[in-house]
Each structure stands twice: as structure tokens, then as C-alpha cells.
């Protein structure tokens, strides 16, 4: 193997092997990327323009997209609020049964989605203790956006907790120890040191959670079919009217979802906040 234009000498064997490995990796990566992107690209191209046009005419589509955006964002906020302390505990503390707790937290990811929906109904529905109390306070879970948010949080929070736990674990506990000796109580050390150092990972985790919430269907449809989020609407459109009606909905959803996804990823702080100091 001769390096093109590199002069008299052939590449040493180790370098040549390295080159081959890089080429193979790039090839495999490209194929896989294509596998992931091509189906989406096809339908976005197929339904994109008519879909965006429909935005202006189709009130049901608009309200469905708006509902999806609001519920997914609220679900992300709720998941982050509740999940962050849990993720921190799992990352830092040792306690008995920790492995069990972590495994249990992963369960919602395994359960078939309609089953998850039923499970939530049993706990939050009007027959349950919690549900009855909520109804008393005027809050209806099934058949309302609250139900949508509950289903979204249930299926997406475990993803957040997993990823957030990793983000915290990557921050050396010694930073916190130092902060504490400098006078910070535990929560302040968390706020001033751990949080800023892990915020990139947390944002990435939140993005995953948000995306998962937007795509959820099976659990949501059990709790709340109407009003319809985008996933339910596109299913309805497909079942009722076929591909030509469903594609634009899916296309618009994909295009619009790109905006917050890109924005969230761009928000991540500079590389300067890295941890190798």
C-alpha cells in the first residue's frame, strides 16, 4: 500500500491498519446513519410541503401540535424536577436495595405501552385513592391533558433519570467535598459546583426525555384519546384516511420538533466547562 503522493516510503503497517479501520468505521457509520435518517427524510420530503401548508388550514392539526408541545414540555419539566434529586441520590449515595430501586426505575421502559396506560389508570383513575382525591380537587386525569402528561412522564422519566445519574457520576465527588470544606452546606455545593459541571449531561438527558414524550402513543391513548396529541392524530389520520392524509401530519411534526431539539442541543454550555481539571 502506497500513500498517494507521499513520496518514496509506504505507510508503516500500523498506520495503514489505522487508516483501514477509520475507513471501515466511517463506512459503517454512514450506512447506519442512512438507515436512521432515510425513512424520515423520505416522508418529510413526501409530506413536508403539503404538511406545512396544512398548518394554516387545519385547525385540528394546529391544536394537536400545540397540545403536544405543551404537554411534552410540562412532562419534561415535571420529570426533571422529580427525577434530578433521585438521579443525584443514585449517583452519590450508597444505600441498601439501591440496585433494586434502579432496576424498578427502568421497568416503565420495558412494559408494553398500553399496559403502562392501564397501570396508570389503576393508580390515578377515578376508582383509585389518588384519583378520587384529585377529582375532589377538581382535577380529572383520564381524558384530559393531565392524563397525557402522566403517561408521558411515566414512559420518559426513567430515561432522564438514567442519563442524569450518569451526568452526576461523572462529576468527581471531591469537587463537592472541597466546596463543603469551603463552607457550603450540601445543597449549596450541589447548586454551585455539581450542577454547573453536569448541566450539559442534564440537558442532553432532558432532550431525550422530551423526544420520548412527544413520540409516545400506546400509553397516552389509553388515558386520553381526546384531546389528541400529534402521535394520536397521525395514527387516526392513517387509520381513517390512509397514507396521504397521515404523511403531512408526521412530516410537520418532525419538522417542528427539530426546532426545540436543535435549540436544546445548541444551548449546551461551552466545552470550557469540561471536567478534566
Amino acid at each position: 500500500m502506497t500513500a498517494p503522493g507521499a513520496g518514496e516510503h509506504a505507510l508503516p503497517r500500523s498506520m495503514a491498519a489505522h487508516r483501514t479501520a477509520s475507513v471501515v468505521a466511517a463506512l459503517c457509520g454512514s450506512i447506519f446513519l442512512l438507515f436512521l435518517v432515510a425513512p424520515i427524510a423520505r416522508w418529510v420530503v413526501g409530506g413536508g410541503t403539503s404538511g406545512v401548508g396544512e398548518l394554516f388550514t387545519d385547525a385540528e392539526l394546529r391544536s394537536s401540535l400545540w397540545l403536544t408541545a405543551v404537554t411534552a414540555t410540562l412532562a419534561m419539566a415535571a420529570g426533571a424536577l422529580g427525577g434530578t434529586p433521585l438521579a443525584y441520590l443514585l449517583a452519590r449515595r450508597r444505600f441498601r436495595g439501591k440496585a433494586v430501586v434502579a432496576a424498578v426505575l427502568d421497568l416503565p421502559l420495558l412494559i408494553p405501552h398500553p399496559v403502562a396506560g392501564i397501570a396508570l389508570l389503576l393508580v390515578l383513575g377515578r376508582e383509585s385513592a389518588v384519583g378520587r382525591a384529585l377529582l375532589h380537587a377538581g382535577i380529572q386525569v383520564a381524558g384530559s391533558p393531565i392524563g397525557i402528561i402522566c403517561a408521558m412522564v411515566f414512559v420518559s422519566a426513567p430515561l432522564y433519570i438514567s442519563a442524569a445519574r450518569e451526568a452526576f457520576a461523572r462529576v468527581d465527588p471531591r469537587y463537592e467535598s472541597v466546596a463543603r470544606t469551603l463552607g457550603d452546606p450540601a445543597w449549596r455545593a450541589f447548586r454551585r459546583v455539581t450542577l454547573p459541571l453536569s448541566v450539559r449531561g442534564l440537558i442532553a438527558a432532558a432532550v431525550v426525555m422530551w423526544a420520548r414524550a412527544v413520540s409516545e402513543f400506546g400509553a397516552i391513548v389509553i388515558l386520553t384519546y381526546n384531546p389528541k396529541v400529534a402521535s394520536v392524530l397521525s395514527y387516526d389520520r392513517f387509520t381513517g384516511f390512509g397514507l396521504t392524509e397521515a404523511l403531512p401530519v408526521a412530516a410537520v411534526l418532525s419538522i417542528l420538533a427539530l426546532i426545540p431539539l436543535v435549540a436544546l442541543r445548541a444551548l449546551r454550555p461551552e466545552r470550557g466547562a469540561g471536567l478534566d481539571v
Binding site: V178, R180, T181, L182, G272, A273
Partner: protein
């Protein structure tokens, strides 16, 4: 002051068992131990970062066992600085400081202010330690804990940073506990030396005492003593008879010290001490061994003829290993002396040392 009383702690595989020592107020304590001896665990137990299983920690007369780290008024500097990467150098220094004026002053004193406009990532190891030191001192601690602060530095930074630490210690009068695996630092910096091995305190006391009178051969070797011999102790004077003559100068106890003989292999040393006859170890510091090219009578009771086996020069110090009847004896001299004596490998020399230089343990 720092008092550690029967401290027991465990973090992962690092253990502390029955650790007791005291560093008086304003003094500099050095905890010496090899890797894995639990040095960092000890510091973190004193700091309150980890909770000990048993024992007490007393700081300035106050029992702080069980108190949270943020209330203990101490500063800690780890081996790698642990500067907060997301904050500037200045913000690092003032992180916990209540008095920003004092913070700036102390930063100025240790030489951290000139680093203020540099990003934390761009600092060298020595510079990081300086900033970490300023950060710890800025909160006006009464106690400063240093975890191998100089180990990761290059020799020049090491010397410079040591100098700063020593100066600051003197000027501020804070109590310092430093852990290290480098026993020479104990001699250079410490008022109190504590030997830590596998989570236990082997010996504690003024560095001089610990070095000259190690409690065991293990400790002696631990401290880098080069001449450690196993053998037997006998009362001196008449070889086989027990001394009874009060007028015999060799047998008169002087303040509990007797003249003793120590036999190790083919060699017999004359020693002075209160060791009881039986198996023991003899430790002679290399610095106490004097070499000469001729057999000169002197007050040194121990004089042996031998051949130079090896000469190792390190800067201004030279270590000469002499083969004495099959036994290796190490002498430390200035390189200049070695040069002037014309010492070479294979040359014949006389090695001598006083009876008082033989420490029996």
C-alpha cells in the same frame, strides 16, 4: 490544634484502625505512609467529608466528630488541586471567603493573583496548587489539611511551593497536617511526624526522634534507613559473664543506658542503650557513617575495614556502599568529600561510627 483519638474509618478498601495522634496548635504535622495506607481517608475523616466508624476528632479543643464539614473551619488542598473548572481563578480563590480583602491579600501572598486572568485549564500543576492553597486559606481556617500537595509537581515547582507553604504556616500560625509518601518532607517541614501504615499508626513524635529512634526495623526501612541489621544484643564487657562489677566503666548504667554489644553475622557493633539482651535490630543512619582512607583511631567505637562496592552521587550528596566482611554498610557524605578522598569502586576504606549512633529496636 488537631487531636485524633482512636479513629476508625473505612472507605472502600481503605481503612483506618485505632489512629491516635496530636498536632499542637500552630505546629506542622506530617503523616508519612506508603500508597494505600489510608492517608487520604485520614484527612477526609478529619475534614468530615467521610464519617468515621469510631473515635473522635478534636479541632482547637472542640470535639467536631459528627459535625458537618462546612462547620469545621478547615481548609483542604488535594494532590491535584481540584480547582472548580467552571469558575475563574479569582472566583475559585474567593469561593468560600467571607472577607474578600483578606482573600486577595492571601492570594497575593502565595502568588496566586498573577494567575487571575488565566483560564483554570491553562494552569500548570504548580500553579494549580498555589491557587488551591489560596482558596483554602482565604476562608481563614484554623486548620489546614494538605493531601500530598507536592507529589504531582516537578522538582522546581515542588521546592517553590514548599517554600510558600512553610512561609504561610509561620506567618498565619495555622495548624497544618500534611500527608505524604515522601519521608524527607517530614524532616524538612514537620514538627510532628506520624507514620501510617495499612491504616495504623506505627509511631508518632518529633521527626528527629522518629528517624533516629525508629520503633522497629520495619519502621526504619520504611523511613529509608539503609543500614538495618538483624542480630542479637549482649551486655558489653565480658563476653559470656554477666557484669557485676560496679566499677567497670562498661557496665555502669548511666541513666538507664548500658554499653551493649550487637552481633549480626560476622560483625559486632558497640552500642549504647537500654535494650534488653536478645534478638533485635540495629539501625545506623548513613549520615552517621564516616569514611577514611586510613585506619585512624578515633572516639568512634565501631570501625571496620572494607571495600567500596558502589558509589551513587546525587547532586551534593553521595552514598557509598562499603562491603564489610560480606555485609553492606552505607555511608552518606558530601560529594566534595568523596571527591577529595579519591573514593573509587574497589578501593579499600575504613568505615566508622559511634556507639551512640547505633539505634537498637
Amino acid at each position: 490544634m488537631i487531636e485524633v483519638d482512636r479513629l476508625e474509618a473505612q472507605v472502600g478498601s481503605f481503612q483506618l484502625r485505632d489512629v491516635t495522634f496530636t498536632v499542637p496548635r500552630g505546629q506542622y504535622g506530617v503523616v508519612i505512609g506508603p500508597a494505600g495506607s489510608g492517608k487520604t481517608t485520614l484527612l477526609e475523616a478529619i475534614a468530615g467529608v467521610i464519617t468515621p466508624r469510631a473515635g473522635r476528632v478534636v479541632l482547637d479543643g472542640r470535639d467536631v466528630t459528627g459535625e458537618r464539614p462546612e462547620r469545621r473551619r478547615l481548609g483542604i488542598v488535594y494532590q491535584h488541586g481540584y480547582l472548580f473548572p467552571h469558575l475563574s481563578v479569582a472566583d475559585n480563590v474567593t469561593y468560600g471567603a467571607a472577607d474578600s480583602v483578606f482573600a486577595r491579600e492571601i492570594a497575593e501572598r502565595v502568588g496566586a493573583t498573577k494567575l487571575y486572568d488565566r483560564p483554570v485549564r491553562a494552569l500548570s500543576g504548580g500553579e494549580r496548587q498555589v491557587v488551591a492553597l489560596a482558596r483554602a486559606l482565604a476562608i481563614r481556617p484554623s486548620v489546614l489539611l494538605l493531601d500530598e500537595p507536592f507529589s504531582a509537581l516537578d522538582p522546581r515547582s515542588r521546592t517553590a511551593t514548599r517554600r510558600i507553604v512553610r512561609a504561610v504556616h509561620r506567618e498565619l500560625g495555622i495548624t497544618v497536617v500534611q500527608v505524604t509518601h515522601d519521608f524527607t518532607e517530614a524532616g524538612l517541614l514537620g514538627d510532628v511526624a506520624v507514620l501510617l501504615d495499612q491504616g495504623r499508626v506505627l509511631q508518632a513524635g518529633p521527626p528527629d526522634e522518629v528517624f533516629r529512634r525508629p520503633a522497629s526495623a520495619y519502621i526504619a526501612e520504611f523511613l529509608g534507613a539503609e543500614n538495618v541489621f538483624a542480630g542479637t544484643v549482649r551486655a558489653s564487657g565480658h563476653d559470656d559473664a554477666a557484669p557485676t562489677d560496679l566499677l567497670d566503666p562498661d557496665s555502669a548504667p548511666a541513666g538507664g543506658h548500658r554499653a551493649l554489644k550487637f552481633r549480626s553475622g560476622p560483625l559486632t557493633f558497640y552500642a549504647v542503650g537500654d535494650a534488653t539482651p536478645g534478638a533485635a535490630h540495629a539501625v545506623i543512619r548513613a549520615e552517621e557513617v564516616v569514611l577514611s582512607t586510613e585506619a585512624n583511631p578515633s572516639s568512634a567505637r565501631n570501625q571496620f575495614a572494607g571495600t567500596i562496592e558502589e558509589i551513587a552521587t546525587l547532586g551534593a550528596l553521595t552514598r557509598v556502599t562499603v562491603d564489610v566482611g560480606g555485609v553492606a554498610l552505607v555511608a552518606a557524605l558530601t560529594t566534595r568529600s568523596a571527591h577529595e578522598l579519591g573514593l573509587t569502586r574497589g578501593a579499600k576504606v575504613w568505615a566508622s561510627f559511634k556507639a551512640m549512633a547505633v539505634h537498637l529496636c
